[in-house]
Subunit: 189 residues, 2 copies
């Protein structure tokens, strides 16, 4: 069951932009992160939720998409995310997030996937611009932007080929291919 959900939970970069996501849905996803583990139980993460066309546009303007797809600047209007959850570190609680944002992001994305949504974790962010647009004080550090929406993209996992490249690529039909290392190559000793 969790195996199926993890397999289905592929990073997605093209969406049915018109399919709105309610604030209630976003709040429910944050609750999954809230209930997840946090180093020393400090719970230093905060969440900024966006789902209006205006804020979505502002956030979109601060993101870089799919570094390996050099000819693709990101989703076109109509295929953009319909919501975002921005994961912030509250520096008044902790100086570092450790890997708390990874735990939180995985909980959120699995929850989204279960509801028929998909998402993408984006770390390539114009942080100072985004801070100004959202008028967020320095207290909050931008860790990750989670783009969310109803998926409009087929993504397949395959085994890394003989050349060892892990760069994802898109074929002529628009299918997004993700090479994953072999299980036996991940286990030491």
């Amino acid at each position: 069951m969790i195996d199926d959900l993890i397999r289905a939970n592929r990073s997605c970069r093209r969406f049915h932009q018109e399919a709105a996501i309610s604030r209630e849905t976003l709040t429910g996803l944050v609750n999954l992160a809230r209930l997840s583990a946090s180093a020393a139980n400090l719970q230093p993460l905060k969440y900024y939720l966006a789902s209006s066309p205006q804020e979505n546009g502002e956030i979109f303007s601060c993101l870089a998409w799919a570094g390996y797809l050099k000819d693709w600047p990101g989703p076109v209007e109509g295929e953009r995310p319909s919501a975002y959850i921005i994961i912030l570190l509250d520096r008044e609680i902790a100086k570092e997030a450790g890997c708390d944002h990874g735990i939180a992001a995985q909980s959120i994305l699995l929850g989204a996937r279960e509801q028929g949504l998909a998402g993408c974790l984006i770390g390539s962010i114009k942080r100072e611009r985004l801070r100004q647009l959202l008028q967020l004080p320095d207290r909050y550090e931008f860790l990750l932007v989670l783009a969310l929406g109803k998926p409009q993209e087929e993504v397949v996992i395959e085994e890394v080929g003989p050349d060892g490249s892990i760069k994802y690529w898109r074929d002529a039909q628009g299918v997004h291919h993700v090479p994953k290392r072999r299980l036996q190559d991940l286990i030491i000793g």
Copy 2:
């Protein structure tokens, strides 16, 4: 469904040590991490698996448990983990793990929980001692130790009290209480 699994997936520090975990089970859990997201799809994580009493003892000797429980040095013999998955960064692939180990750890723990196991993420590690005991080269950086076993502990989530303390505590019946911040306090704006 994922909500139930995330709620049930509490950090656990006392186990039925005699309940062995097979290498096949551990490998299956690593596969869940393998299928999860990785920044720029680099997949720089490697995994060291341990389930023999000797190796378990060596790893146990390098860990610090439950920082807030000052009078409790960790689980006694008979209640210790029956297996470990050590998450390593392969520095030949990437210089930093980002939050990949958080994503991986959450996938592993949710998979373990689904099988009736439980675990604890431990970052307080005597790293050099562990490196020597396991004879791991400098290429691998210790990120997290995941302790795993059949749970022998009741853990409850509750809302942070008026004093705002997030320190977990154990009551006279041995129940482990974990204060979580309120959902509305995690959402900005």
